[in-house]
């Protein structure tokens, strides 16, 4: 009799434990599904084409001014070096006591030649500078995918990053700066499509598309 009770108790405990862990795994899986790369159906050609579609956006001054060569930001539609001897610094927020937030607020200031702003205004850190000036489309795509270079992000997290106010600022830069001409919706749809189709990269040998107007500036100032 005692043995039967003991067996029944053990079975009950085992059943409860099983249900508990099953539920836990199910909950974890549900959470993971939200944050993991949402690959709907792998389509390498489609993903590569979607990435190609966003490359012109990435090469606009609104993006390139913080993703170009050198440990300093650039500014303006001509991507000249940021005035005031501004540096990237140890964390991407400036050097010593002169930080990005010394002048930049979390919003654009009104009027021409006033500092633009968005929440978290900064450059990528020197540990992962995310410099894509001079990269081919393929190299740029690989950089986007490489957690060692992209801030430890999965493709799905790259998509999330593209929805942050700092990135979306490119469409409303204020102060007479040229906004990104591609529609924000189209850009976000394409980056989402790239991730959903498996984040494959274009296999190409094309050089980075830098508008001709920028070339003399880089060549003159930083030979």
């Amino acid at each position: 009799m005692r043995n039967r009770r003991l067996i029944a108790s053990c079975l009950t405990v085992a059943a409860v434990t099983y249900v508990f862990f099953s539920l836990r795994i199910a909950v974890q899986a549900a959470g993971h599904a939200k944050s993991a790369p949402d690959v709907m159906s792998r389509d390498d050609a489609g993903a590569a084409a979607a990435f190609e579609a966003i490359v012109p956006v990435l090469h606009r001054p609104r993006c390139m001014n913080c993703h170009s060569n050198g440990d300093f930001p650039r500014q303006g539609d001509d991507s000249h070096r940021h005035t005031m001897q501004v540096h990237r610094g140890r964390d991407g927020h400036g050097l010593n006591a002169v930080r990005c937030s010394t002048c930049h607020q979390d919003h654009n200031l009104v009027g021409p030649r006033t500092p633009p702003g968005a929440p978290g205004w900064h450059l990528p850190s020197p540990a992962m500078p995310m410099i894509w000036e001079g990269l081919t489309d393929h190299q740029l795509c690989e950089l986007f995918k490489d957690p060692q270079q992209n801030g430890h992000r999965t493709p799905a997290q790259i998509v999330e990053h593209m929805h942050t106010p700092l990135v979306l600022w490119g469409w409303s830069p204020g102060g007479g700066r040229t906004p990104i001409p591609t529609s924000q919706q189209e850009f976000l749809e394409k980056i989402q499509e790239w991730a959903e189709k498996g984040a494959a990269c274009p296999v190409d040998a094309s050089a980075t598309i830098i508008p001709d107007a920028w070339v003399p500036i880089y060549a003159d100032q930083f030979p």
Binding site: T83, M84, Q85, V86, H87, G94, L95, N96, A97, V98, R99, S101, T102, C103, Q105, D106, L109, G111, R113, T114, P115
Partner: protein
């Protein structure tokens, strides 16, 4: 209008003010502090510089509501006429002023830079001062004064 509490140079002030008012106007007009000055009004010249959270801030473009609980230090917060701060003393000894309009920005920027990095190189100090314009060219004397202060700190 909104009630805002500001901590400036160790004193707490309670003000009823438009939260979008630039911090500079509050310091000048409400608190009577004339160390930070209105130069360009768009964060380009550095005359309005104050120290917050250990970094320099252009008070002409910062809404007073953005200050929050952080303490603001202006030039008046460093030393007194009778007992100047060592960096102010160094500037006096080197005669590092002409018109003096930029002086508050220069002194606070140099101090904050050396507070953040006591071993900042001459180039780093020059770069930090890249955002503070001096229109009567006292740069070399200023740099001498800053170097003297940096050496005093290390001694």
């Amino acid at each position: 209008m909104q009630e805002i509490t500001l901590k400036v140079n160790g004193k707490r002030h309670v003000l009823k003010i438009d939260p979008e008012t630039p911090l500079l106007f509050v310091l000048n007009d409400e608190l009577g502090l004339c160390g930070p000055r209105f130069g360009c009004g768009m964060a380009q010249c550095g005359a309005c510089t104050v120290i917050m959270r250990g970094q320099v801030v252009r008070s002409c473009v910062m809404p007073v509501s953005a200050v929050g609980q952080d303490e603001v230090t202006t030039l008046e917060g460093l030393g007194t006429l009778e007992q100047p701060h060592p960096i102010q003393q160094a500037f006096i000894e080197e005669g590092a002023a002409q018109c003096g309009f930029c002086l508050s920005g220069v002194i606070l920027t140099a101090k904050a830079t050396l507070d953040a990095n006591p071993d900042a190189s001459d180039q780093e100090i020059r770069d930090a001062l890249g955002g503070v314009l001096c229109r009567c060219f006292v740069h070399s004397r200023m740099l001498r004064a800053i170097r003297k202060y940096a050496e005093t700190r290390r001694a």
